[in-house]
Symmetry: C2
DNA sequence: GACATACTAGAACGAGATTCTAGAAAGTTG
DNA sequence: CAACTTTCTAGAATCTCGTTCTAGTATGTC
């Protein structure tokens, strides 16, 4: 089917490589092309409704090639998911670590969250759609990431809790209290049930977050 | 394959019908058997990993029969999803409508939510897993349900907002502020990342909800 | 310049969702 | 109750993918 677009036996990558090109280079390029194409498809139609053929077509890659670099269609979805989640998490954590008071820290979590999802709508939509069926390995990885995030966030908060500037509640309730509302609102927005972007309402949700955990 | 379990040409429904049995009766019975079987499978393994054969086997129904009553495997998932969501919503709304003060009303939403998910873990897990790929029709129906719920909840709140007992904020931010945290916590609990059941922490989240919207 | 490794291509395979064909039960009408 | 229609059941046949397999082609190394 896509044989028509292949004009010769020369690899199509030749035209993309600007330098003589190490193999590693073109490999990385192809992997990325596949990931980009997959995100576009997944965000538009969901993982299940996207066929491998859709991805190979958009990425301009053969079936064999795709399977040489990835385990399975779902493996691509998992890789994207973990990559997106990590990006979101580290954005939040990075900003939090530059804060110097309990209030700005708590607010920063919400603000960063709102800004990120508004700026990365395609990835956010993919993450929220939740149609990635996680393998045990990916599930474990996600749990590890979530645990690390919770721990890092909680450690940051700990000193303020100790000083009595923040409430003392079970460790795993901080994140739901702080980011639950903005996440819930974001889900509505992504599914088209809410009009205003999370970024437009970030102040409201940031205030609410601080209000929920301050003493 | 399942021919082994079919002992004769007599319909297996005969043994189930206690009355002479109208057709509508046995039809409803079969539909429900399929839905029950599907929920069990979906909750255990997810929609994608469940085969139609799994469902027909557990429900003791033939392929043709199943497809006579449902469009597709995904159609079954959609029906279950909407049914579960409706149950959850009406539970919340019913309880809210029996409340006589802003504070008890707001708290009741959270309490009901926590109790329902803790009591209906299988359905809750299915709803939260989010692995139902919604058709346009189902998406529309969900939007309609969500809109109705938001409106009903907001109408209830409206009088207290007018009296100045509750904050005046955009209509579609009340639900995220009130139930966002408990929902977020529930998601963690269902995926095994949090230990205590939502019901065990309901008071904490109910207080937080009231705190978030009171004046 | 021969061998190894990394990669690409697309055909073949197999699992499983959906459709099709045949026929049985229930309901209706005379 | 006999003829006829409609609803429902059964399971085989089909068709759509995801994945694997076979046959290569480039790149790098000695």
């Amino acid at each position: 089917m896509s044989a028509k677009t292949r004009e010769s036996t020369k690899p199509m990558l030749a035209s993309i490589k600007e330098h003589p090109g190490k193999r590693a280079d073109s490999t990385a390029r192809l992997r990325q092309r596949v990931l980009d194409a997959a995100l576009t498809c997944f965000a538009a139609a969901g993982v299940e409704a996207t066929s491998v053929a859709d991805i190979t077509r958009l990425a301009n890659v053969s079936t064999g090639s795709l399977y040489h670099h990835f385990d399975s269609k779902n493996g691509i979805a998992e890789a994207l998911y973990l990559q997106g989640l990590d990006q979101l998490n580290s954005g939040v954590l990075g900003r939090l670590n530059r804060c110097r008071s309990a209030r700005t820290g708590v607010r920063s979590v919400v603000l960063q969250y709102a800004e990120w999802v508004s700026a990365n709508r395609e990835m956010a939509g993919f993450l929220y759609a939740g149609d990635v069926v996680m393998s045990d390995a990916a599930r474990l990885e996600r749990k590890r990431m979530y645990g690390r995030q919770i721990r890092a966030v909680f450690e940051w908060f700990a000193r303020y809790v100790a000083r009595g500037e923040m409430r003392h509640i079970p460790a795993d309730t901080y994140v739901p209290l702080i980011s639950g509302p903005i996440q819930e609102y974001t889900a509505r927005w992504l599914s088209g049930d809410a009009q205003r972007s999370p970024a437009a309402l970030k102040a409201l949700f940031a205030d609410a977050a601080w209000n929920a955990v301050k003493t």
